[in-house]
Symmetry: C2
Subunit: 339 residues, 2 copies
């Protein structure tokens, strides 16, 4: 899911997103609640009407941003109080409020409010936190009234297999339309992340979508897919683009590197996006060096296309029963290339 | 002519430019010579190949930027020495060099190197300057070798009718594929600009294109067309967009104004561009307030579309013999509206 933080995937129109094959877009409740306000988005016909995007939209609950952006926050059983990153104003997110806000935003999939503690928090903290998150999840489900909106639960528990199991049990017991694995990709090693996912994923209901929150690098995507994940989101493809970096089948490259100044070949010869079929690396490198809007736009288009395309390939390989060998070869080529 | 200063019209692709009906794009020799270098652009197949734009391109000579951007410059009979706005490095533009550079850039229309003195410079200065500009124009013509590239002369002479006449005579005597009126729209009043153009335009050869350099506001465009101008360029439509301002049939509006926050109507109901047919003012205002790339892109698209469309209407009215009455009514509606 490309991330449209503030109701727009950085520089891309809904038409661009359709052209690169994006099937669903993520919106951030934290940002949209504060700016322009979920009441305004509701008046505009929800995120679909506001953005002009007729495909599916998933909104997060805002919890992750509260815990990662807000410096002064206070958690209680009721919810979490925080200071706006925009103007310092005080707000309280409760399970009931974030559910209502997501109903106003009109997303197709809403998320429960969860606490996302740092991976290295004490075991006792994770234990208390996951139980509160489960109580919040129940309150979200009880508050949820929008019948044409799915609601997903979130499994927490840090890096502790038994706590993950407890969180999973509590969440599945409440019953949701899909399940997310949260609290990973937040500072732990990639190895720890995969090990924790490996012991969590098998317990998730097989017939429901599985969403891994916050992974977007190509290798990571293939690794979590191998463990049974169906959905993921990350700002990486769009953020890299704004820093002049492009994803290619032969690894990540940075167009600010002097070697691309006179490279008149395409960014990625295997890619069919507009940036790769219309322009040279030399032109894109020029735009990036000059900080031109078109450079941000074209690299974003390419990186999103690349990532969506990778997922399409993964789906085909899974159907063909060749995923393991294919993804091993793909990762080896991508990771083994000079950057 | 939308201005593609550095080989890109801020945020728009060649496909966007075609979609809004732009027939020709301007590139700035000053910037392209310094970054990425005209030799590199030549290797890429000229500006057309570099940008991926197959329509006509006009390049200026770089003279205007030397005189408006460079703080330390030294003019001699040979040319003009200046410090790069990027890194302070010293360069010399001679008529021969700027002609060769434009040949490397591969534009369809090249301009002669001219000096563009401030409108309020002393009469004696304008007199000496226009004569040197004429000598430079001759050197440009003699240096010009690219047969499939037109070369335009530039009439100077400040606000003095007799000096304009002298410059016009000297320039027409050399003989060019088209003629530009330069040195206006550089600080004098609109009234002075129009009066000077009014006494210059009738002397320009009727069978050759007439290019007024540096006007782009809707009212100014209609005023110079009335005086016989065929071509013009200005960064105004693209620059306004980056400041959140949009051109509409009812005047210029700034989307940062609070009144547009909940305005769910289109930017300009009479406009058929993607920004006006797909999004609401409220959404565009949100993007502008959040400084989102998509906001810059969509407003640029709209402002360029609006300006190109205005020129299309002007052409139709001229053919119908109704230009005077139509433009009067158009200006009265545009200028009479609250902003």
């Amino acid at each position: 899911m490309p991330v449209g933080t503030k109701g727009t995937v950085k520089g891309l129109t809904p038409g661009d997103l359709r052209a690169v094959g994006a099937g669903i877009v993520l919106g951030n409740t934290y940002h949209l609640y504060l700016r322009p306000g979920s009441d305004l988005v509701r008046e505009a016909g929800g995120l679909h009407g506001f953005m002009g995007w007729d495909g599916p939209v998933l909104t997060d609950s805002g919890g992750y941003q509260v815990f990662s952006l807000a410096e002064t926050r206070r958690i209680s059983e009721d919810g979490v109080e925080f200071a706006s990153v925009y103007d310092g104003s005080r707000h309280v997110f409760t399970p009931e409020l974030t559910t209502r806000v997501q109903e106003e935003l009109g997303s197709d999939i809403a998320m429960v409010l969860d606490e996302c503690p740092p991976a290295n928090a004490a075991r006792e903290y994770h234990e208390r936190s996951l139980r509160r998150t489960a109580r919040w999840a129940l309150r979200c489900k009880e508050a949820h009234e929008k019948r044409d909106q799915a609601l997903f639960g979130i499994v927490q528990g840090g890096l502790y297999p038994d706590l993950r199991e407890e969180s999973l049990g509590l969440t599945v017991e409440i019953g949701f339309d899909g399940y997310a694995v949260g609290g990973l990709s937040v500072g732990e090693s990639r190895q720890q992340m995969l090990e924790t996912l490996e012991c969590t994923a098998p317990g998730l209901p097989h017939e429901k979508p599985r969403y891994f929150m916050g992974i977007g690098d190509p290798v990571g995507i293939l690794q979590v897919i191998a463990l049974g994940v169906d959905m993921f989101d990350c700002v990486l493809p769009t953020r890299l683009a704004r820093h002049g970096a492009a994803l290619t089948a032969e690894g990540r490259i940075n167009l600010k590197n002097a070697r691309y100044r006179r490279d008149f070949g395409p960014l990625d010869p295997e890619c069919s996006c507009e940036a790769c079929t219309t322009y040279s690396k030399a032109y894109l490198a020029h735009l990036v060096r000059e900080n031109e809007l078109l450079g941000h736009r074209l690299l974003t288009l390419h990186n999103v296309h690349f990532t969506v395309d990778l997922c399409g390939m993964a789906r085909r390989e899974i159907r063909a029963g060749t995923y393991a060998a294919w993804s091993r070869a793909w990762i080896s080529r991508y990771a083994g290339s000079p950057t």
